[in-house]
Subunit: 405 residues, 2 copies
């Protein structure tokens, strides 16, 4: 059975809608995958995530390796049983996180922002061909991550979809460094696949990770090398450039190559999930996305709304909402807005650091993104993606405006 | 219509089961009332509180006065609309909180523990017959609370059941101080009732507060003075002694007096809610209780279990639970245990400061207390309270053992 059943494609773009088949059930694609980095979608229970309509969550190898440790998770019967999530789970490989200790934050680096130094107590001790030695940010102990150890951890976690261990190439490096780093990522891919073929769970899908920085030839070569290996799917990682336009272009080099060399393999875009990026990502043929954005900004009081001029968000903690009676979004069916919580009340809760405030905005934001993805998927199936994408881009409320399509 | 319809009494004790009638619906008594001190039951949504089976919550005049301010709550249509709770709400008067700034923590004082100094930035500026002048712990501004202002704030909040403003007499004071303080509380009661008769919402019930320290004659006099005034119900407040035995005895002086002078008026026991205190409180004829215990200890990782030897609780953050597969409580129907979350996972979440961990233990603890209260109420109605109380005291799991009755 192929990992991905493609049910429909959009004639005007590279978009596809399908079903991803995993050991713990199916995922309707294109899909957004909420983060359960540390084995929990922050502020929510699994039943909330199910009720929001999500099929899959993403756990993180690096964080779960350090705490509570993969052996402990194995003792509990794997990550599904540990966190009580019965559906599909992706695990990120830990490459991004471990290299972020060496480059300030990789998030800054790969998005081309100036490095602000590490925000972690941990630190890289050495990087070489064998792997990465570093200090745990939890207890300062020395740890080692390598292709084989990452796969071993992901086997213990028992995720449905494992990502190979890559060297996450930063932005502010030379073309030569990028080329050599990408080659190492390819050698590490082979080691990951070897380890998995020998020892990995047979029903665990493995995705390779494309690197290559912002260089078209390197990106296309990397995509082809990864896609034509024994991987079940392809994840696009690393630095995608300084601007959204560049990020969309760099990502499209990969999906364009994939359309040619491995059209049936599923594609994941790593760490990207702003509203306009999701719309564009679907158009260039991405099948699933993960991003901290909807949940992280919620805890800081930022709520998603259909307002393209303001990056689809506004700050609930602003004093202007003190007396605001209206919900985050009129007619929104999410658990927060439909219960009638006002912006004024949410502002009050957030300023008072009440957990319920963070939870309510998290529910709203994830509901918003899920409705967006559902709109895009249904439009692909109905053959009306261009109209739906245009409407969403111009500020149509997702999930409220399907008659637009 | 009387505030309380008594449906059954226990022949072997002073216990009664009934229905409290309020402007926003009925409360099945005896009842535990979860705290929504700042207009939110911490970590929960109103729908959670409904699903747990609670009829009423308690908001706090002092905290809501300082933030977001009663005028702002009034702007939103009152506390029910502000916090999206459609059921009955009690508001505490603020007396306890404002006096706690002057006596270290009143919680320490009234329970006879040594004062540890104030844990608030706020401070009392003056106390006299007119009221209390103090500094806000929110912004340092000068504020004034008095009988009339407390009732005015509670009118703006629109609670179903207002408590009069009292001087909360601390423990470490002389009998003479206690007597004079109690007399002031009675004069303030009259002022509260006058203000409410003139200006208060007609459908808002008003409860007086009994003081009198640990002196039987003062307690009985205070109870009679409060109960024979125009109040709809009676709350027992202030210092109840150093030990549980003393607390039960002091409370019983009041309910014994009430049985004689005002048997039909509902009784609230302020700030008391440990498991054995709830059982004993029901037996001496208390109709409803509030206490921070179940929700506060949950956020610190303490879970309620049927273990009388250990105050019905254990510390989930203890290292011994690292690998523990079992739920907080076997066969517990609460949203946490029934979903299969293990002690090991909960420990991990709590140690990692994950909001979901605090939420799950809050759900468990409040479910535990609600089942306890339901068991006690059903036993009174069935005429089997002695057996049920004995079983619960000896460690029967509430809600799982109703066949005991």
């Amino acid at each position: 059975m192929p990992a991905l059943d493609i049910l429909a494609t959009d004639p005007a773009s590279q978009a596809r809608a399908g079903i991803l088949n995993t050991a713990h059930g199916t995922v309707r694609t294109p899909a957004f995958v909420p983060l359960a980095t540390k084995g929990v979608v922050k502020a929510l229970e699994p039943r909330d995530v199910v009720e929001l309509g999500y099929d899959m969550v993403l756990g993180n190898t690096f964080h779960l390796f350090l705490d509570p440790g993969h052996e402990r998770v194995r003792h509990f019967g794997g990550l599904h049983k540990f966190m009580r999530w019965d559906g599909p789970i992706i695990t990120d490989s830990g490459g991004f996180q471990v290299f972020s200790m060496g480059h300030g934050t990789v998030a800054d680096e790969i998005k081309g922002r100036a490095s602000q130094g590490s925000d972690r107590a941990g630190a890289i001790l050495s990087i070489d061909e064998s792997g990465v030695r570093f200090r745990s940010y939890i207890d300062g102990s020395e740890k080692f991550l390598a292709p084989e150890t990452s796969m071993e951890i992901q086997a213990a976690l028992g995720s449905d979809l494992a990502l190979v261990f890559d060297e996450c190439t930063p932005f502010h490096v030379t073309r030569d460094y990028t080329a050599r780093s990408t080659e190492r990522t390819h050698r590490w891919l082979a080691r990951c696949l070897d380890w998995h073929a020998e020892n990995g769970p047979q029903d665990q899908l493995v995705y390779g990770i494309v690197q290559g920085g912002v260089y078209e030839d390197l990106r296309r070569e990397s995509t082809e090398a990864v896609a034509t290996s024994a991987v079940d799917g392809v994840a696009i990682g690393g630095s995608l450039g300084e601007t959204k336009a560049q990020m969309h272009e760099v990502s499209a080099w990969s999906t364009d190559t994939l359309d040619r060399v491995a059209p049936g393999k599923p594609r994941h875009l790593l760490g990207i999930g702003e509203i306009d990026d999701l719309i564009r990502g679907v158009e260039i043929g991405i099948d699933h996305f993960d991003c901290a954005m909807p949940t992280r900004i919620a805890r800081h009081g930022m709520a998603l709304v259909p307002d393209p001029e303001k990056r689809w968000r506004f700050d609930l903690t602003n004093a202007r909402w003190k007396d605001a009676d209206e919900p985050i979004m009129e007619d929104c069916p999410c658990p927060c807005c439909s219960a009638g919580f006002s912006r004024g009340y949410l502002r009050y809760l957030l300023k008072a650091k009440e957990l319920t405030g963070m939870r309510l905005v998290t529910l709203h934001n994830l509901a918003f993104v899920q409705r967006l993805m559902t709109d895009l998927r249904e439009a692909i199936l109905a053959g009306t993606l261009p109209q739906t994408a245009a409407a969403l881009r111009s500020g149509a409320a997702p999930g409220l405006s399907r008659t637009v399509a």
